[in-house]
C-alpha cells in the first residue's frame, strides 16, 4: 500500500496475477434422481485484470455481483468455467490439484466472518500453525514458537496461544485469521470483506495492520469489500464490478475523483459521508430499481436497466477499454465511434 510500492509497481508493471476472460457459472439444477440443468448463475462472466506485485487491488460492487466468486476462482477454490488465471505466467486453471499444491501455499485468504472461519475446538496456537504443518514448513517445537511469533506480529498477546477462539473479541479473531494466513508465508492474500463484521472502532485497527504487514512482508492483496471509503483507503487501484463484469478499473484516487462509468458515479455518490455539513449540500445520484438477477442478466450493457444515460448502443455489450493512462471503463459513452483513444467526459 505504500507510495513507493505503488510507484515502483506502476513503473515496472511487474504483474503477479494476470486474469484473462475469467468466467464462473454455477448450474441451477432441478430434479431429484436425474439432476438436469435448468439455468446458470452467471456469477463471474468474463473478467480480465492484472494484479501487480506488492500492490493492493480493491474489488467493489453490490451484493451478489461476483466479488467473492472472483476471489475464490483466482485461488482455484472454484475451478473456472472459462478463462485463464496466470500466476507468474503459469495458468492455474490448467493445473491439476496436485500440481496446484505448492502454489496454494503462496496464495491465502482472509474471510469476512472471524467467527465462522475459525474452528471453535482448536486452540489459537493450533489454528495459526495449521498451514505450517500442512505445508511442512517447520517441525517440532519450532512450530509453536512460530505461532507465538505470528501472534505478536498481528498484535495479539503471545501468552494467549492456548486460548480458544470464543475467548477473543471479533477484532482479535480477525487478527487470528490474519496470523493463520501469514503462517503459510504467502505472496498473495485475498481479503474477502475482512472488516465488515467488525465494530467501527476496530475496523481502522485491522486496516492499519493489513497495511503494515504488506510493507513488512511485501504482500500483494486483492481487497474485497463493499465499503468504498475503506477500499479507497487501502487500495492502490480499484476494480468496480457489476453483475459479473468489471465496469471500471483505475488508480484509487482517480476512480474517486473522476469516475467514468455511470455505475461507479452512482456508487460513489451513494456512500454517506460522516459530516452533516457535507451531507446537507451533497448532490446524490439515486439509482432506480434493483440489480437484475445474475441468472438472467440483461443483454448488452448490464447496467442499462438502471442507467439514466442509456441509449441505443447499450443493447450491445461495451468492452472494458483504456480511457486514459491506467484507467479502463466499459461504457459506450466513452466512445461512440470505433476510433482509438480516449474521449473526454
Amino acid at each position: 500500500m505504500s507510495l513507493e510500492a505503488s510507484q515502483s509497481a506502476a513503473r515496472t508493471k511487474d504483474v503477479l496475477l494476470d486474469v484473462q476472460g475469467l468466467k464462473k457459472h454455477f448450474p441451477i439444477t432441478q430434479g431429484i434422481l436425474f439432476q438436469r440443468e435448468v439455468g446458470r448463475v452467471h456469477a463471474v462472466d468474463g473478467v480480465s485484470f492484472q494484479i501487480r506485485r506488492g500492490e493492493t487491488l480493491g474489488l467493489v460492487g453490490e451484493s451478489g455481483c461476483g466479488k467473492s466468486t472472483t476471489g475464490r476462482t483466482l485461488l482455484q477454490l472454484h475451478r473456472p468455467t472459462e478463462g485463464k488465471v496466470l500466476y507468474e505466467g503459469q495458468d492455474l486453471a490448467s493445473l491439476t490439484q496436485r500440481q496446484l499444491r505448492p502454489i496454494r501455499r503462496r496464495m491465502q485468504m482472509i474471510f469476512q466472518d472471524p467467527y465462522a472461519s475459525l474452528n471453535p475446538r482448536m486452540t489459537v496456537s493450533s489454528i495459526i500453525s495449521e498451514p505450517i504443518r500442512t505445508y511442512g514448513l517447520l517441525r517440532g517445537p519450532t512450530v509453536h514458537a512460530r505461532a507465538a511469533e505470528l501472534m505478536e506480529v498481528v498484535g495479539l498477546n503471545p501468552r494467549q496461544v492456548r486460548l480458544y477462539p470464543h475467548e477473543f473479541s471479533g477484532g482479535q479473531r480477525q487478527r487470528i485469521g490474519i496470523a493463520r494466513a501469514l503462517a503459510a508465508d504467502p505472496d498473495f492474500i485475498v481479503c474477502d470483506e475482512p472488516i465488515s463484521a467488525l465494530d467501527v472502532s476496530i475496523q481502522a485497527q485491522i486496516l492499519n495492520l493489513l497495511a503494515d504487514l504488506q510493507k513488512q512482508f511485501g504482500l500483494t492483496y486483492l481487497f474485497i469489500a463493499h465499503d468504498l471509503a475503506a477500499v479507497r483507503h487501502i487500495s492502490d487501484r480499484i476494480a468496480v464490478m457489476y453483475l459479473g463484469k468489471i465496469v471500471e478499473i483505475a488508480d484509487s484516487e482517480k476512480l474517486y475523483k473522476e469516475p467514468r462509468h455511470p455505475y461507479t458515479q452512482a456508487l460513489i455518490s451513494a456512500v454517506p459521508i460522516p459530516d452533516p455539513e457535507v451531507e446537507a449540500t451533497r448532490q446524490r445520484i439515486v439509482l432506480e430499481g434493483d440489480v437484475p438477477s445474475p441468472r438472467n442478466p440483461p443483454k448488452g450493457c448490464r447496467f442499462k436497466t438502471r442507467c439514466s444515460y442509456r441509449f441505443g448502443r447499450c443493447d450491445e455489450e461495451p468492452l472494458l477499454q483504456l480511457v486514459e493512462e491506467d484507467h479502463f471503463a466499459a461504457c459506450w459513452l466513452e466512445k461512440t465511434d470505433e476510433g482509438k483513444g480516449a474521449s473526454g467526459t
Binding site: 453490490e62 477484532g171 482479535q172 485497527q205 479507497r232 460522516p274 439515486v286 440489480v291
Partner: protein, 331 residues
Amino acid sequence: MKENDQPILSVRDLRVSFATEEGLVRAVDGVSFDVRRGQILGIVGESGSGKSVTNLAIMGLIPMPPGRIDGGRVLFCGKEILGVPEAEKRKLRGDRISMIFQDPMTSLNPFLRISLQLTEVLELHKRISRKKARRHAIAMLDLVGIPDAAERIDDYPHQFSGGMRQRVMIAMSLLCEPELLIADEPTTALDVTIQAQILELLKKIRDELGTSIVFITHDLGVVAGICDETLVMYAGKILEKGSTRSLFASPSQPYTRGLLRSVPRLDLGRKEELTPIRGNPPYLLDRSPGCPFLPRCDFAVDKCGEEFPPRRQVAKNHDVWCWVEMEGSAG
C-alpha cells in the same frame, strides 16, 4: 401550540438487564432522551452497546425472562407506557408506534402473500373493510417505490429482492400512519445504492407525514445524512448527545472523537494511516462504577474509574458525559 412542544417520546433513566449464564448483563444502564415531533433521532454505538434493547424496551418487546426492566420511565405523548398491560401495548404497537427490524425476513411471514400480511395490520388496528385495506396497502407500496404495486402485492416475500423486502417492511410499518417509527438498522443489510433509496424514502415520510423516527445504526455517515439529533451509546450508557451538527463539529467525548477520527472519508484526501481507537470493545460483565470507555481512553484521569460522570452541557442542545473537558473540541 402546546401539544407540539411536548416530546412524542421521553425515556427517563431506563435500565434493562439480562440474566445470563455468565452473570447479569446490564444492557441498558440509565438511558434518558427525548424524541421531538417530526424529528429523526439517531442512535449510534458499537455492537452490544444496548441500541436494540433500548428500543425493544420502548416497544414492550423485551423477553422476560431472561430480561428485566430494572427501572425508568417511557412516556409516549406524555403517557407512561412501560408498565401498561400487554393488550394495551399491542394496541399501540403497529398503530401509533411501529418498528422496522434489521432483517426483513424476521417480520415477514415467508408463507403468506404480502397482500394478506399488509391488510391484516390494517384490519386489526383500523377496522376497515378488506377491500379498502387493500387499496390503502397498494398506495403505500407505491409510496415506498415498489413498481407495479397493484400486481406485486399478491407476491410472496421471497419473490422480492432484499431492498424491495425492506421497502415492503417500511410500507407495512407505515400503514397505520404511526406517529413514531423505530427503525433498527433498516439499511445495514443493504447495498449503498439501495440504502440511498431507503434513506431518501424515510426523509420523505418524515416530511410528508410528519412521522417522528428513531434511527439506529452504526454508520456515522448515515447519521450525518439523516438525523437531526444523535445519541452515542457505549456499554449501555449514553456518552454524548446533541444536535447532529454540533456533535460532529465538536465531538466532546473521547469515544465520539475516536470514532469520527477512525473512519476513512471518501470526500477527503487519503491518509497514510488511520487513527484507530485502541483496545477492544467492552465486556459488559465486568462493570466498574466508572466510565465504561476508560480502558480505551487516552484522556482518562483518576476520577474516571471511580464514578460515572454527570451530564455536562457543552453547547445548546449538546451534552456530554465525561470528566475531562477537552480543549479545542472542534475537529
